[in-house]
């Protein structure tokens, strides 16, 4: 390897909070963009193919496992992106100038708690 070929962007040098939240925000953003297209595509296909009957039939499949777990994963992605996004907005507005690190846990922590509780209730309802 030539010295100039060393990776300068994602070199794994033991990431700390800032880098994980930065990468997490980009990764969840990409996932949500991909999901949005998938969502619109499926809705469009179902609507064109058969209307209300097909829609209800598909909905019954999608509200059972394993799709239910995927749904929970989607909620996790949305919650992370939203909570970390609020942290960055507060930092930009100078309302979390010195506390952005702690704010990550104060926002993403409760979001994770909501996910766990909501997920437990949801899964209990399925059984």
């Amino acid at each position: 390897m030539r010295p100039e070929e060393r990776d300068t962007t994602l070199d794994v040098g033991g990431y700390r909070l800032g880098m994980w939240s930065f990468l997490g925000q980009r990764f969840t953003g990409l996932l949500l963009t991909f999901y949005l297209f998938l969502h619109l595509f499926i809705i469009a296909q179902v609507t064109r193919a058969g209307g209300p009957v097909t829609f209800s039939a598909l909905a019954r499949v999608l509200e059972r496992p394993p799709y239910l777990y995927l749904d929970l994963g989607l909620v996790a992605v949305v919650l992370f992106h939203a909570a970390n996004g609020v942290r960055l907005i507060l930092f930009e507005l100078n309302m979390a100038a010195r506390s952005q690190g702690r704010l990550f846990w104060w926002l993403v922590g409760p979001a994770g708690l909501i996910l766990l509780l909501g997920g437990a209730v949801l899964l209990a309802g399925v059984r």
Partner: protein
């Protein structure tokens, strides 16, 4: 303490086509710093080992390098702490051209620093005949003194992923210096600095990864200083403030 290994990045552009890692073994004394270990290695095992150092006490900023992948000062890092699994890996700072082994070319770093005009630019009032007194109240000095602590070690440049991706980005240290003078009530150089700061490769390249703040050996909150500059420029664009 038991014997430990130093795995050191070696590259001599006049002889090597590729970089390699060389292993050295030492038995560290308690309290040995990575820099002292390097000095010992050069004196006792391998005189061809190149690294940059000067003050040995975290003031000159010469001996920044990647220690186990993270940009740190060799003189402020204990071998005992770094050798968690018995090996300390030393590499030159990321993102800078390697001159030899652990020594990098920092020309680009200094050139960026000069671009933000890191000096006090006085206002238009005529200079007095004998001397100009420009006192700063103690409280305001405290605000600026953190940003003044920068020792130009370039750890923040090696850690910043934006700097790694966009080499034209001014980078944390230069922007911290810009903030130090922009926030100084005696300074009137905002208009002169605006071209460099209010630019895609100026303050707006920062995406708040906070690795500069996490890496700074002088504990300067560089990400915060950059965000303060962003706020000032945003307020100007939104016409929330006068021609500040």
């Amino acid at each position: 303490m038991d014997e430990i290994s130093f795995r050191i990045f070696r590259f001599d552009p006049s002889r090597d086509a590729e970089a390699r890692y060389q292993l050295y073994r030492i038995r560290p004394e308690p309290g040995l710093t990575v820099l002292s270990a390097l000095v010992n290695l050069r004196e006792e095992q391998d005189g061809s080992l190149a690294f940059r150092a000067s003050c040995r006490s975290g003031i000159c900023g010469s001996d920044a390098m990647l220690i186990n992948g993270r940009a740190r000062l060799a003189c402020k890092t204990q071998v005992a702490e770094a050798a968690g699994d018995g090996t300390v890996t030393l590499e030159p700072l990321r993102g800078f051209p390697v001159l030899k082994d652990l020594v990098v070319d920092q020309s680009d770093f200094w050139e960026k620093l000069v671009r933000v005009k890191p000096w006090l630019i006085p206002g238009p009032e005529p200079a007095p005949e004998r001397e100009r007194l420009m006192r700063l109240p103690a409280q305001q000095f405290d605000e600026l003194s953190r940003a003044s602590d920068c020792i130009f070690c370039a750890c923040c440049y090696a850690e910043c992923p934006m700097e790694g991706r966009h080499r034209a980005y001014l980078g944390p240290a230069a922007l911290v210096k810009a903030y130090r003078f922009e926030a100084d009530p005696r300074d009137a150089g905002s208009a002169e600095r605006r071209g460099a700061l209010d630019h895609p490769d100026g303050v707006w390249r920062c995406h708040h990864v906070f690795r500069c703040t996490e890496a700074c050996p002088k504990e300067i909150d560089a990400a915060w200083a950059i965000q303060q500059l962003q706020r000032r420029l945003a307020a100007r664009h939104l016409r929330l403030k006068g021609d500040a």
